[in-house]
Symmetry: C2
Subunit: 582 residues, 2 copies
């Protein structure tokens, strides 16, 4: 008997929701966004104990400080995050898989290990880590939002790998002492900056439920945004780590491909190897990102993932940044700033965020230069081709498994099956890509002539989306994130401010550059956007993860300090308080 996709989806959804302990169910449904726009902070806190709030609002660095010194029990930490994640899911639909029981049992074992040996199992001892639903975890399914993948291994039956196989990074996280407890929602196909599929429906932005949580690592963004996880891993082929990090006010990093192990993860269009999807963390602090990357690199992933390059964590590269800054009384890094790519201009909140970060950098004594790289139009033409080599064959096959429909966000790009690229066409695009990358890096090199620091630009301050967050089904332009994937640079997300409808007013009389730009311009509505997170990306060169994180931390800390000095009691909610900084 063939079961219709609606039934399969509902059964799956119900079976996951059934794993939430009764005591953690919300007493009543969350009010609509019109009544309760923001479910973070005080709203979610009302369902938690003070101890749970303390634990879940501590960043990953603080957590491992407590768990590796036995000040906190791993089990208490695991339970607190499982509880908060359960609440988060009920508020915004951010989970695909729940395995709280396994997590609590794992945490219990860690506590027993500590009691017996008097030391932690590893540097991430007892740290809850959430995973995008591309990771395979023992005893748990991976659907990646496809109804047709339910009960299979990546859509295939009878491989014997279902619920047994684990992705390489999962093994490494376990080795390091991390606690795995949930997998987070994605848009089916992974090819969207929003998160929607026929199993969980739509994942909303917890800070402003009128808006998208981002995608494709959208469940990660929403969950960590609600502090239902201190740190989690997403993937990024066109912005999928940075977009949800930004939309949820988080730090995140898209490492260069080959820095962290992607081995054994599910994917769309697996084997397309012109633009590789990369895996990287999202978290509430830069420290958390460093903590998990550094820990993973101690596992020598290059011995377990054929695509990882042998590049250990390099403290000296971080130190080199600090040495420059310390030797210059806090400044003298050189930044490029990119306000627009010439195709689309950013909405007012994003433009203000750029001003804030540029002014912050300048006040510290850094130099900021206009960034005029090789044509982004050309860059994006090459990049977007790589996503359509197979004409949509892989995506269509996945939908055909169950007969489920495509979300409109996917339909707009993959709705019609097209001709496949030939080997010659793919090769030509690879050559064009390499040529563009070469031009871009030589442009970057050339800036050593203008910085006056003896070095080229240290990093580029740039938007990663033209809006604070996308409105549902209105993510019309990916160019601001995707150029980074094309050149394979390291890029971290720096949360900057919140949309303030009183400051971020509509540009009256704006003359759009083109149709795409007009769409972005018209999508801005101060009333609707009010309170949403606004973030930027700090872009470094290939494999400069250490440097990019160091710079992101420097800029973030400086801006937080500035807010405090300006009298903002809540630097994370700096509404209106920084107007006089600009």
């Amino acid at each position: 008997m063939v079961v219709d996709w609606q039934t399969l989806a509902k059964e799956k959804r119900d079976s996951v929701n059934a794993l939430i302990p009764k005591a953690w169910l919300l007493p009543s449904p969350v009010p609509p966004a019109s009544e309760q726009r923001d479910v973070t902070g005080k709203y979610i806190q009302q369902f938690l104990s003070p101890a749970e709030i303390e634990i879940t609002e501590t960043d990953a660095v603080g957590i491992v400080k407590n768990t590796t010194s036995a000040k906190w029990k791993a089990r208490d930490v695991a339970e607190a995050f499982c509880h908060r994640a359960a609440l988060a899911h009920q508020m915004v639909n951010c989970l695909h898989e729940i395995f709280f029981d396994a997590a609590i049992a794992d945490a219990q074992r860690l506590d027993e290990y500590y009691a017996k040996h008097g030391k932690p199992t590893g540097p991430l001892h007892g740290l809850p880590v959430s995973l995008k639903d591309q990771f395979h975890v023992k005893d748990v399914e991976t659907t990646m939002g496809y109804v047709g993948w339910i009960g299979t291994f990546e859509g295939k039956k009878g491989l014997g790998k279902e619920k047994v196989f684990e992705s390489e990074m999962v093994t490494e996280l376990r080795n390091l002492g991390a606690i795995l407890y949930c997998k987070t929602s994605v848009p089916h196909t992974l090819m969207a900056g929003e998160t929607v599929n026929n199993i969980i429906g739509y994942t909303w932005n917890p800070k402003n439920r009128n808006l998208a949580c981002g995608g494709s690592s959208g469940g990660e963004g929403a969950l960590i945004g609600l502090k239902g996880s201190p740190v989690g891993f997403g993937t990024d082929i066109g912005g999928s780590i940075r977009i949800p990090a930004a939309f949820n006010g988080l730090f995140g990093i898209r490492p260069s491909s080959g820095r962290l192990p992607y081995e054994g993860m599910a994917n769309s269009m697996d084997g397309q190897n012109s633009t590789l999807s990369v895996v990287g963390p999202l978290a509430t602090s830069v420290g958390a990102l460093k903590l998990v990357i550094k820990a993973l690199l101690t596992q020598e992933p290059w011995l377990h993932d054929p695509l990882v390059a042998e590049i250990p964590w390099r403290d000296e590269q971080e130190q080199a940044v600090l040495d420059i800054v310390n030797a210059s009384g806090g400044g003298q890094l050189a930044f490029g700033v990119s306000k627009s790519d010439g195709i689309v201009n950013c909405q007012p909140p994003v433009r203000r965020a750029i001003d804030i970060v540029v002014k912050t950098a300048e006040k510290l004594g850094h130099k900021v230069f206009e960034w005029n790289p090789p044509s982004h139009k050309r860059c994006l033409e090459i990049a977007f081709k790589t996503w359509f080599y197979d004409g949509g064959a892989d995506v269509h096959a996945a939908f055909a498994l169950s007969g489920e429909p495509m979300a409109s966000q996917i339909k707009s790009s993959y709705g019609t099956l097209k001709d496949q690229f030939t080997a010659s066409e793919i090769a030509a695009n690879n050559v064009a890509k390499r040529a563009y990358q070469k031009e871009y890096m030589e442009y970057w090199n050339s800036t050593s002539k203008i910085t006056g620091t003896g070095r080229p630009i240290d990093a580029v301050i740039a938007p990663l989306a033209p809006f604070a967050a996308a409105r549902p089904d209105m993510y019309s332009y990916y160019g601001l994130s995707t150029w980074v994937n094309m050149v394979d640079y390291s890029a971290a997300v720096l949360p900057v401010t919140l949309v303030d409808k009183t400051i971020d007013v509509v540009d009256e009389g704006y003359q759009p550059l083109n149709e795409q730009d007009e769409k972005v311009h018209l999508a801005y509505d101060p009333e609707l956007y009010d309170g949403a997170h606004v973030a930027l990306q700090i872009v470094g060169r290939r494999f400069q993860e250490e440097k990019v994180l160091a710079i992101t931390e420097i800029l973030g800390d400086a801006w937080s300090r500035a807010l405090r000095e300006l009298g903002s009691s809540t630097p994370k909610h700096p509404l209106k308080h920084h107007a006089n900084f600009l």
Copy 2:
């Protein structure tokens, strides 16, 4: 007026030969191989002065020691190598391009720099470096053996790059003080282990002119084998550095892709990026290989080539090998040994070379284990597909430019234009490749259980071809070199011995494994092969170039010492002298 390809080829050939100074022309043609099998050593020396012999028979390390201390003038060194290269070309057809005048002028400028500043320009000050004819060098053509590329830039006219554009590594070599003076022959398409094209004809093996010099970096192999160059660069997508190194008794290394800059080089099937061709050096000593790689990495090629990973030269990885050996009285590395891949067995001289190296390792106190990796048959099926993604379109287009015919060595594989792979088929092969690589690396990891050293195998001792050298048009099996490209490992060539017809007799009653194996078996003729070089490869993991070179040097030095102790007065010509070592 359309000029026929024969005329174009002859004009090109004549124009290059015309660049040989009259004084350096051979007084009479070289006798046939039946009379003068070996043109190395005493044969070529007869045309050189004692000073020229001294210079050209010094390895690259010795040369830079003299040139960077002004003991030798760069100009004298350049002239000596230009002279010897001119002789080599007349003997075996190993050059595509000659630019002795530019080289001597460059050397003169280096001498003037030294005279003025009292120091060398860089670590390669005055070192002649030969280049495979894929490198673009200012004022010089790149034909890659295609008649249709004559007078063009990679087959295209009017780009304005002809004779102007330089490959990235060329720039870096110049920065380091190297002297560029010739480009060496290749088989058209580069897809052969022999060197033949319609411009220069066939490049013969100088040590045994019955045999092929190897390919595709065959001109490099022949030229350096005749000591017409101390070190040169070739490329390797299936064995093309290692094969000519081995066939000419040289050291050479195929680095992992992304270690050295390939940027801006001509290629066949450019943009095929499942198996990347890599660039690496061939030379007369391991020290020379280290010298040039280390020097190039000081140029930070990752800032100039988008595909190079940021991995500087790591002295500590070399030192780690030496520390193990020193702590163990000379031994305690662990080797895998692969005598056959189960598809083809090696001819007697290669089997003897394996025995020599294994015994050498064991005598030093190292451990040697049988190597049983995942199926090489499966590996090669994946690897060979990557060479035929475009069905031969690129190759056919190159031949069509002039109407020239394919050499039989190429025709056998690319003769018929086939269907192109689709994007989905390429993606599936990429997935299969990654899965194989993962299995292979986990097999390697698993050997830590058997070595007793606490580490997995340090390197694998393996043949890189089933024969000492190929007989013309009889290179029937590439599997022994190509598996390394599939897993992207670092592999150095260790020259071991010479074919000795009195020891290396035919296997009577040999039962071939299959048709391929039978071809290899039947191709062995002790009389014809007598005196040919025999070499093996030492294979390390991805990006372990430092370790592989350290190990290759240790084994090579030990075997040379053993030969000396056995009373061989000429360790480079150990005929018969080592029989009692085995």
